[in-house]
Symmetry: C2
Subunit: 410 residues, 2 copies
């Protein structure tokens, strides 16, 4: 029986070795909330033990973020701090890895002035653009993990006694990340092998489109010529493998930016930049959003879609069976890293260049001409369900079942 400390150390080791795939002599940037310091410190230790030359930690804090919204005026919100993105970009440009611990209050900005929120989101997306471009070509190894903070655990387990909430979230995280296994590293290697096998199978099919069908959704997602299915473990530009998400259950590729048609309904809430959107339905025509409504957060969704031209087109389509451990746990995490690995999802905004053969070497215009989407944003939302069927459309126009009732059948 592993202790909490054992599991926490396993988790840090998995993040450094499976997530980053840290190499001897590398420099590593760790991003962490102040409140997840115990995990961040273990990550630093495991990185040095694995031969890191230097580990920087750049800490973040919800309270500092919120304070600006509470105490500063809207005319200041066309500017965001240049600090985080300049540091991350410096690492990305040097080809040095970045490990981010993501934990935030899912409703941090609830009730804040919508003008401030909207200005902030746009300014943030713009400031992130050069960094996002490096991410989209896998210029460096990067990994997202999570760790409980009080506000997040309160959202996930509101009915549990307050003092147990963070422990319950830790248990869920340890289970989903295989950190509760004595041989977690080996289990991860097996898991990635299985996901890679699934990606190879889909690549061999060379579908021209996927058709998602359930009671709520009827959406055809065209796939461009040269699209490429991947698991979350990929080589970076230098050829070294890393796993961008811990946990990960998905295989994913890019949709054709002009060939998405039909209606899709979200099956889980989405939290984005401290705002919650839920029960939203989006209609696409020729790749572009032509209609939408939401039971909750419709205004936030409207502003998200209006970010730029590419924000109302798709940049990712990902297949995850509903039998995934995260979905089976029955927990809604209010954290996209977890929730997107519960069921099938699609993303508004920019596509990953490496999801197209030769994509990393194309100009923006060439990439778009071949069907790749570009935007300041990349926001995943969940569309899979127990009653969802997915068909693959073959190059000859015939179709075959890919998923039935939420499960893979190929």
């Amino acid at each position: 029986m592993l202790t909490f400390e054992d599991k926490l150390r396993n988790y840090a080791e998995i993040a450094v070795k499976i997530g980053i795939g840290l190499k001897q002599g590398q420099r590593l940037l760790v991003l962490s909330p102040v409140d997840t310091a115990p995990l961040a410190r273990l990550v630093v230790e495991e990185a040095y033990k694995a031969g890191a030359r230097l580990v920087d930690v750049m800490w973040t804090d919800d309270a500092v973020q919120l304070s600006r919204f509470q105490h500063s005026t809207a005319d200041n919100f066309d500017e965001v701090s240049s600090l985080p993105m300049s540091v991350q970009l410096e690492y990305a440009q040097a080809g040095d890895p970045i490990l981010a611990i993501r934990a935030t209050d899912p409703s941090l900005l609830k009730g804040q002035d919508p003008e401030k929120v909207s200005k902030y989101n746009l300014a943030f997306s713009k400031s992130r653009k050069p960094y996002l471009e490096m991410v989209q070509v896998n210029a460096f190894s990067w990994t997202l993990i999570s760790a409980p903070i009080a506000s997040w655990a309160n959202s996930v387990f509101p009915d549990a006694p307050e003092e147990e909430r963070q422990d319950k979230l830790w248990d869920a995280i340890f289970a989903a990340t295989r950190s509760d296994l004595p041989n977690g590293l080996d289990a991860w290697k097996e898991h990635i092998k299985a996901l890679d096998h699934r990606a190879r199978t889909l690549n061999s099919k060379n579908y021209t489109a996927l058709h998602f069908k359930s009671a709520a959704t009827d959406l055809t997602v065209g796939l461009p010529e040269g699209h490429y299915w991947e698991s979350a473990q990929n080589p970076n530009r230098a050829g070294d493998p890393f796993c961008a998400n811990i946990p990960t259950e998905e295989v994913f590729t890019l949709p054709h930016r002009d060939k998405v048609d039909g209606v899709v309904k979200s099956t889980k809430p989405l939290t984005y930049m401290g705002q919650l959107m839920d029960g939203f339905e989006i209609t696409f025509k020729d790749g572009k959003v032509v209609d939408f409504k939401a039971e909750q957060g419709e205004d936030a969704l409207r502003k998200l879609l209006a970010t730029d031209e590419g924000a109302s087109r798709l940049g990712e389509v990902a297949l995850v069976p509903t039998s995934s451990p995260i979905n089976r746990s029955g927990i809604f995490f209010y954290n996209t890293l977890y929730d997107e690995n519960a069921v099938c999802h699609i993303a508004l905004g920019s596509a990953y260049r490496h999801n197209m053969h030769g994509g990393v070497d194309l100009t923006t215009e060439e990439f778009k001409a071949r069907g790749g989407n570009e935007s300041l944003i990349h926001v995943d939302f969940m569309v899979g369900s127990d009653d969802m069927d997915v068909d693959g459309i073959l190059p000859d126009g015939s179709r075959e079942p890919v998923m039935r009732q939420g499960e893979f059948v190929i």
Copy 2:
């Protein structure tokens, strides 16, 4: 009777308004240990309330620092992170203020490989050089404050019950910084006025040297032509006043780099970069250290003096009466910000350009030719005591008493 929360808020307000002198529309960088987050968050809030346009917080962590020494090899220690200094330099060059909360385990690096420590200190000093140059000309407003962390409180109050140590340190900090007064801001304005008056008196004397004499010390410190006495509140390059240290009890100027002669004994321990030096005696001839010994930390002192040519010469001389509140408290803080404000002190290493009339506009060579010292380091150590007399040597060669038995008499 003010509550703890009242005092904490007073302290944050004093730091922002007296320390930084924050102006409407300014950007502010806050440096804070992860473990002093409650104070840092209040500083952020007070800064936004005072009209800050944007507040960045760059967090630091002793454990991350220590981890490198524990788990990385000595051959990696010729490099330090470029992150903190590049961010601070960006602010300094823009003329934007920096507020630093300084708290560290005074014996953090005790027992660590001396080769690593020595390489680290040199690499750190080099990386800090461009920033230190901006500090020395007051290119921007900057303020140092402190806040308890467990390891530091343990050093200061080792005999108190463990759960009371941080509270006792908070009490000492609130008292020394006037944060326990309902009208702390006004009290600060009065205090600075009194220090400024003292500085003006010393400037009117135009001493050519000071002679420090006690049972342990017999040191003559020459003062260059054009030297200028200041309190810790000064104008920055743009002419806006700030107070570099909270608390502050000193008036200070620069010694002549070639005109320091005699023997000086430290009267309090010195902690520098996680190492403790105590009971050290230094002999100067023509401004340069020619002999030294230490009861504790002699090797650390040797390496410090060997940093560069200027490290074995003086860059500051400061007068503080032994009746100062910090000295009267009887507490040794293991933190130079506090301990240097207990009694008279001098500093090894570089001088502040603004302590010489026109100094900020001189080249390095011109500054040195006029008696100003330059170095990668600036390390204060305490020399004042109850039995110390200080004489001022007037331009005509006559002398007059400045301090007797540790107290001002002019």
